[in-house]
Subunit: 194 residues, 2 copies
Amino acid sequence: MVLIRALEQKILSEGQILPGEVLKVGSFLNQQIDTKLLKEMGEEIARLFRSNNVTKVLTIESSGIAIAFAAALAMGVPAVFAKKHSTSNLSGKVFSSKVFSYTHQQTYDVVVSSDYITSEDTVLIVDDFLAKGNALKGLIEIVEQAGANLAGCAIAIEKGFQGGGDSLREKGIRVESLAIIDKMTDDSLEFRPQ
Amino acid sequence: MVLIRALEQKILSEGQILPGEVLKVGSFLNQQIDTKLLKEMGEEIARLFRSNNVTKVLTIESSGIAIAFAAALAMGVPAVFAKKHSTSNLSGKVFSSKVFSYTHQQTYDVVVSSDYITSEDTVLIVDDFLAKGNALKGLIEIVEQAGANLAGCAIAIEKGFQGGGDSLREKGIRVESLAIIDKMTDDSLEFRPQ
């Protein structure tokens, strides 16, 4: 709870609202990383999913890596990050899905080597942001392709007003967001009470 | 020293040598992340640079983020990651340089918002791999543009036989690599004694 309030305060004091419902939090979450805060966020995520016997944390490059690392470290399990397109270093069999990014207005391939997620795994998906939920849907598809068990999704900041999180919850997927923004205008933010 | 030997053992047991002098270590360093090992690597980097009063760790997306986070966390400072091209979320003044990637055979822009590195900073550059040193040179250029002090560079795995590390050392830049591979054939690796 203390952590949640600290994160909300940080969003209020350092977040910048840009046109197109963009919330920029590059000062602590996804360009500059406040390592102490992210460590605590990782520990909170580990606490929320402590009864799930998670064996792998899955995220997507690049801005999900730091929070996923922090959560996986706190859980004592490996983190795996999906790449946004096939690279020459990613040989062999892969799981993949297609994701449309509203921020960049383009569709990209999300790819994970099949060596790193198996049907034995219980996977927690972790990401920095949740808006319409397209990236999460792509990662969930990869977990399904692997035949792995999905523990749920843990997110740093959810833009609740864009509906992606609630639509996943309605499907029965557990989505835990450390901060949920329910309303965002040009100069104000409103958090969902939790 | 125990950590260095553990890392070398991990490279020998899990690394895959691919055509084109590519060493694939996706199982623990740059697709799946062994969080416990990376935490220890970060602590070793912090120990090596403990007298330098580092204020920021700088890396480049994506595969440098985990090791940079681990090092910055151990040092109690923020990590900053450079992006490989300008995105719509990166508004305002930026520092940038051009880097040629041998792996991907293309030149890309490396960009950091000028909000996150200033002339007051002492910067440690951290990355997962060092081969010809092009990425490091791009990051060093960014540190210079910011007018910041460069503490040096810390690398997980250096391909010593590709010369990038030694050429930076000859210029007087401190480069510390946790493992240095001096010889690589299709089926064998030789580490530089250290």
